[in-house]
């Protein structure tokens, strides 16, 4: 079959835990583009995003033996490592760079590239779910997740009472879970 040889992530992680560098190469080929996209969004700097990407895969290599499928997917494991490193970098900067809206660090041409192992389904469904959130709630959730802003920083940035920010962030995450779980399917039609 044409898909012969496409190995499940869990098998790659088992091989990686035994020090198999080909497993690391395959995981890097599969997931470096999506992790790099996350790091670019968080750090707004190619140089720093590449540095953290490198650290993340080295950490994945070192911690492969600790990975357990029941605790989440390989992408979740890898994104947790990458986000943790990026948040530490943001905090060490003291001030976060302002995202410039007209400067797109992403290359839009890659969106349609067919020669990459990138499944657009999840991206489209997750975007749909995010866009169903109330706009301010979505903004607060994204800034907490991508930029690591605390409740009080979000309250200051959005001129909202602290209690309101807490309620909205919590609501946004719970709603997103609901939308990604698909119980409101009819609204997705």
């Amino acid at each position: 079959m044409l898909n012969r040889g496409v190995e499940p992530d869990i098998d790659l992680m088992s091989r990686l835990a035994k020090g198999d560098e080909r497993a690391l190469a395959e995981l890097y080929r599969r997931y470096s583009p999506s992790l790099y996209a996350l790091l670019l969004r968080m750090l707004q700097s190619r140089e720093e995003a590449e540095e953290i990407l490198q650290d993340s895969f080295v950490q994945l290599y070192r911690e492969a033996a600790r990975y357990q499928l029941e605790r989440g997917s390989v992408t979740a494991f890898l994104f947790t490592i990458g986000r943790h490193f990026a948040l530490s970098r943001l905090r060490s900067r003291g001030a976060r760079p302002q995202k410039v809206d007209d400067r797109d660090l992403h290359n839009p041409e890659q969106e349609l590239g067919l020669w990459r192992e990138d499944d657009p389904t999840d991206r489209i469904l997750i975007r749909r779910a995010l866009h169903r959130l109330e706009p301010t709630d979505r903004k607060l959730l994204e800034e907490a997740f991508f930029d690591g802003y605390s409740h009080s920083e979000l309250a200051e940035r959005h001129h909202l009472p602290l209690g309101t920010v807490k309620t909205r962030v919590r609501r946004a995450l719970l709603k997103l879970r609901e939308y990604l779980g698909g119980p409101q399917t009819t609204e997705e039609a």
């Binding site: 079959m1 996209a37 895969f57 660090l105 992403h106 192992e117 997103l176 879970r177 779980g181 997705e188």
Partner: protein, 213 residues
């Protein structure tokens, strides 16, 4: 005392501090329910980055990773092997990758056609533990498209099943790719299982099921 469950979203985002954080962490140690809900919320959060279009990093990143992870002796052997493969051009490795990417391109084109249809409905395919295994798209006219997160493991195939409200499930086809299109007409739900090559008369290792109404 505040319901500790309410604190889970903030904790998942890393926004909880002080006594509330300590209190929740203590409760998490003794409550499997709280731990499970926290894992669910963390899984949702970690789907957010997948809303971003992927970006290809510079090749120098991978070279640096290899330097830090692969022992030098093996690294030199790896470089030599890569040079041999490169000199072979369209060797078996290249052909295998060409076929794999061609399949992926076909899968993406099919999924893109489905997603362009405004009447398409969708739902995640989840296993008994609530872990997402993929997505099912369907339309009212009886067509459905299953998109699994991963291809089946070696030595196994996926098999799709239709179920009426009563009676045994009926096979809707066997597949070894990640994307499979079939008809669910007349069935109240569609499921998928892992089976030995060639499929089985009844599901032996069910993975998940989605109602179509």
């Amino acid at each position: 005392m505040k319901d500790l469950r309410e604190l889970l979203p903030d904790y998942a985002l890393g926004l909880l501090e002080g006594s509330e954080k300590a209190q929740l962490e203590q409760a998490l140690q003794s409550s499997p329910e709280l731990r499970q809900e926290l894992e669910e919320l963390q899984a949702v959060l970690l789907q957010i980055p997948q809303s971003l279009p992927p970006e290809v990093p510079s090749p120098s990143v991978w070279v640096k990773i290899k330097h830090k992870t692969i022992p030098r002796r093996d690294f030199l052997r790896w470089v030599a092997a890569a040079a041999v493969l490169a000199s072979l051009g369209l060797g078996g490795w290249g052909l295998d990758h060409y076929n794999r990417y061609r399949t992926l391109a076909e899968e993406h084109a099919r999924v893109a056609r489905w997603l362009a249809d405004p009447d398409v409905r969708w739902r995640l395919i989840k296993n008994a533990e609530g872990k997402s295994l993929g997505t099912m798209l369907w339309t009212e006219d009886g067509r459905c498209l299953m998109i699994l997160s991963e291809p089946p493991p070696a030595g196994k195939v996926y098999q799709a099943w239709g179920r009426k409200t009563e009676g045994d499930p009926v096979s809707l086809g066997v597949f070894t790719t990640r994307v499979f299109e079939t008809s669910y007409e007349g069935f109240a739900s569609v499921g998928v299982s892992l089976e030995p090559p060639g499929g089985s008369p009844q599901p032996t290792q069910p993975l998940g099921r989605v109602p179509t109404s």
